[in-house]
């Protein structure tokens, strides 16, 4: 059906061009019409429980709500901040007050026009402790949100917060129409968004299908008639479905299957450096890791290049024990760490642990990278005298008994919009979790993070963070070996798709299907 429509448009485009040479540029008409139509089928391998943007925490859910909703701003594939529902924003009072000017004439899928009240309602709900939104702590120190007029929203912070316009790109700050927020339960399976696509069909845990929203504010877009996101619990099935062209785009290819995508004629394996990582916490408030020599010794045991090759097929960027990868604007390179077992042994001796030390390392079984890091670390650290007892457990048990309880375990974090978000989360005892129990012994470093929030000028901010990153590398409470690349696979007929360093930022506004795409029902 889509093909016949495309063929028809193509034909009419040619005819128009031929008949009206002086008036219309035939190439432009053709290009315009060629892009429209088709159903894009995307696959994921994990959870799709809810479509409620205020509450969702899984990558698949973030992908789906990105299609149906908009944020105030967005990060493009180069991670530059660009307008979304807000067309401009300004800071006042030393980055303490932020004012966003909304785009005019934006419509929700249910017909009404977007106003400042919807933005206020969204943030009020998000920040309300009664909502229990998982992201409540990740949108910055907001004190008040108010509508100045119909299209102006003002956020007043408790303290200066220079990166706020980038922070509102988080998935939980998608703008929901206020009538949708009245029933948070229903919002799990309905949507009240302004995005390029509207909800057509949703079976939790299985698939979600969205269809083109004709009144989208980016006129002429989206090009696709619809998109389906399907969950494949088994990556081998997912890959076969892709090879048989039942799937056009695999979001999140596992590293071991990536080469199979790459060698498939007509398929494209996409990779981009991201900010996702797994790291090991070194609880610094008690022995043995309260001694920085022991932390340093463990970090020195790790052959990061080998670890990356063994665990992620070499698809990634080497880390130096801090969470800022090249995907962040605040990134500043530090010399790579190489394994040095002699020095590690010497440091252990200096710390009085010449005879070795036994520690217990916990790892949840999901995602698999956690367990792999634990097992490889056990082997690599053994020669320096670390006897690591690895305890792999189900995710629910990990959450209840290990996570954030001051033990040595493997954390896993997805890319955040700003360096502030991930650094605060990892190190700050109040704004974040301080999972390494490190803040108390390093108050100056924590102060650096707090001061960063006052710095508006990007280059100055980068230099300021560089100081923290160095401390974090040399004394920090995390052994962070590498960042994983984002890996996608797609067929060549999927055009203008740009893989974002943050995998859930899947923007499909201007993606289109070339004529070679297989025929299928919407």
């Amino acid at each position: 059906m889509t093909m016949s429509r495309r063929a028809f448009l193509k034909a009419t485009g040619l005819v128009t061009g031929a008949a009206a040479i002086p008036l219309v540029n035939p190439v432009a008409v053709l290009a315009q019409s060629e892009k429209h139509g088709g159903l894009l089928r995307v696959s994921v391998t994990f959870g799709l429980s809810t479509l409620n943007p205020i509450m969702h925490i899984s990558g698949a859910e973030w992908i789906a709500t990105k299609w149906m909703y908009n944020n105030l701003t967005r990060l493009n594939a180069k991670r530059e901040l660009v307008p979304d529902l807000a067309e401009s924003w300004t800071a006042a009072d030393g980055a303490k007050v932020w004012t966003f000017k909304l785009r005019q004439g934006v419509r929700f899928h249910h017909g009404r026009e977007l106003t400042a009240d919807d933005v206020v309602a969204t943030f009020t709900t998000l920040l309300d402790p009664k909502t229990a939104s998982p992201y409540r702590g990740e949108v910055g120190p907001i004190d008040r949100v108010e509508a100045v007029d119909k299209s102006t929203v003002r956020f007043t912070m408790k303290a200066p917060f220079s990166v706020f316009p980038a922070v509102v790109t988080v998935p939980n700050a998608r703008i929901v129409a206020r009538e949708g927020l009245a029933d948070m339960k229903a919002l799990a399976a309905r949507e009240f968004g302004t995005g390029p696509f509207k909800l057509k069909d949703f079976v939790p845990g299985d698939h979600v299908t969205v269809e083109r929203f004709a009144d989208y504010f980016r006129k002429g877009e989206p090009y696709l008639d619809g998109v389906t996101l399907r969950v494949f619990p088994d990556p081998a099935t997912e890959l076969t479905a892709f090879k048989s062209k039942e799937i056009d785009l695999i979001s999140g290819v596992t590293p071991d299957l990536f080469s199979q995508v790459a060698t498939q004629p007509g398929a494209e394996a996409l990779t981009v450096a991201g900010g996702t990582f797994a790291a090991v916490t070194l609880p610094s408030d008690k022995p043995p890791f309260n001694d920085n020599r022991v932390r340093e010794a463990l970090k020195l045991c790790v052959d990061r290049k080998l670890m990356l090759a063994a665990i992620n097929n070499g698809q990634g960027e080497l880390g130096v024990d801090h969470p800022i990868s090249s995907a962040y604007a605040a990134y500043s390179p530090l010399p790579a760490r190489t394994a040095d077992l002699d020095r590690a042994r010497q440091l252990m001796k200096d710390a009085g642990l010449g005879n070795g030390v036994s520690v217990k390392l916990y790892a949840a079984n999901s995602p698999p990278i956690r367990e792999r890091i634990a097992v490889v670390l056990k082997e690599m650290a053994q020669p320096a005298g670390f006897n690591i007892d690895v305890d792999v457990m189900a995710y629910d048990r990990y959450l209840a008994q290990v996570w954030n309880k001051g033990a040595m375990y493997v954390v896993y974090y997805a890319t955040r919009p700003t360096a502030d978000a991930i650094l605060m989360k990892l190190y700050h005892p109040k704004e974040g979790l301080d999972e390494g129990r490190w803040a108390a012994s390093h108050p100056n470093a924590i102060r650096l993070l707090e001061q960063a929030r006052e710095i508006v000028e990007p280059e100055r901010l980068r230099r300021h963070y560089a100081e923290f990153l160095k401390i974090s590398r040399d004394e920090g409470a995390f052994m962070l070996p590498f960042f994983t690349n984002e890996l996608n696979g797609k067929w060549a007929y999927v055009r203008d798709y740009r893989l974002s360093p943050s995998s859930s930022d899947m923007v499909l506004d201007d993606v289109w299907l070339a004529a070679a795409a297989p025929k299928k029902k919407a």
Partner: protein, 315 residues
């Protein structure tokens, strides 16, 4: 007979009640709950408490169980904690999908398995018998996820591509499309189950063929066809019916694996989902449904045996 049936139904109700208590207790032995999983690694103690209160998870366990069982009896199955949708709606559609799968597999097993077993019995010790027995044994020895993936890669791969790799098509999109989606997952289940029925039928028919009354029938001049269909099979099939009923229970387990492999939205995947998300109302209902299918199938098998064999009397 009626008295027997009523007594059996009462014991079935008791079994289901016990199942629900055991599942409820088992899921609460594990640490954590739906609230900790909804919030994941973003949880704050305050947010966990808020969600627990909202979902009623802060109440004592007997009270939680009490209100759940009251709901079930009065027809209110509750709301899924993770999906926020009525459990009844979710379970109904998933159960229907799985039923298609299970019935398709079971039908093929019965239609193919009984004749195969009979042929094997008639050709006991000869190459055909050996081939049938070996082939079905290979089928049962290989786990479902291997069989499933092998079928998938070969028959749904790009070079052959006869069937879709995965998913489910609504009947509204056409019977052909619907069937195409059922073939591979139900074939996987069939391959695993075939051995039970074939072996049982084979030994049943073989036993009966050795019985004196078959010799009598033969001496009377009855054709092999008539002997097998009229005399042997009817008597030999009794144990097979029990095996088929037990297989239905086995099928419920097989479905969990097969539905994961073929990304098929049925009860199997729903159970995994409910466990992973600690979605107690959803899991409770799934467990009840699976247990019901199992005990009712056995009950039906017993009734069928009585009907087929006048010597079987329940009192």
């Amino acid at each position: 007979m009626t008295h027997y049936a009523l007594r059996r139904l009462a014991s079935i109700a008791l079994i289901l009640l016990l199942v629900s208590v055991i599942v409820f207790a088992a899921i609460h032995v594990l640490p954590g709950n739906a609230a900790t999983l909804i919030l994941g690694e973003y949880a704050t103690p305050e947010a966990v408490r808020t969600l627990e209160r909202e979902m009623g998870l802060d109440r004592p366990l007997p009270a939680q169980y009490g209100s759940w069982i009251t709901g079930v009896v009065t027809g209110d199955w509750g709301v899924s904690l993770a999906m926020k949708q009525p459990v009844a709606t979710i379970v109904a559609s998933r159960l229907r999908n799985s039923a298609f799968l299970a019935l398709a597999a079971l039908a093929v097993v019965v239609i193919v398995g009984i004749p195969l077993g009979t042929f094997a019995a008639l050709r006991r010790g000869r190459p055909l018998d050996l081939a049938i027995v070996t082939a079905t044994y290979v089928g049962i020895s290989i786990p479902e996820f291997v069989t499933g993936l092998a079928l998938l890669v070969v028959l749904a791969g790009p070079s052959v591509g006869w069937f879709p790799t995965s998913g489910y098509a609504e009947l509204t999109s056409g019977v052909a499309e619907w069937t195409r989606h059922l073939v591979l997952p139900s074939l996987t289940l069939t391959i695993v189950l075939l051995a039970h029925v074939v072996r049982q039928t084979r030994s049943g028919v073989a036993d009966v063929l050795a019985a004196p009354y078959i010799r009598t029938a033969r001496l009377k001049g009855a054709s092999t066809r008539r002997i097998v269909l009229r005399h042997a099979l009817r008597n030999a099939l009794l144990p097979t019916i029990t095996v088929v009923a037990l297989d239905l229970g086995y099928l419920m387990g097989g479905i969990v694996v097969v539905e994961e492999v073929f990304a098929y939205p049925g009860m199997g995947r729903l159970i995994i989902y409910a466990v992973q998300n600690r979605d107690v109302p959803l899991l409770q209902m799934c467990a009840l449904v699976v247990a019901s299918v199992y005990v009712l199938a056995n009950f039906a098998a017993d009734l069928a045996s009585a009907w087929l064999d006048p010597r079987v009397r329940y009192s």
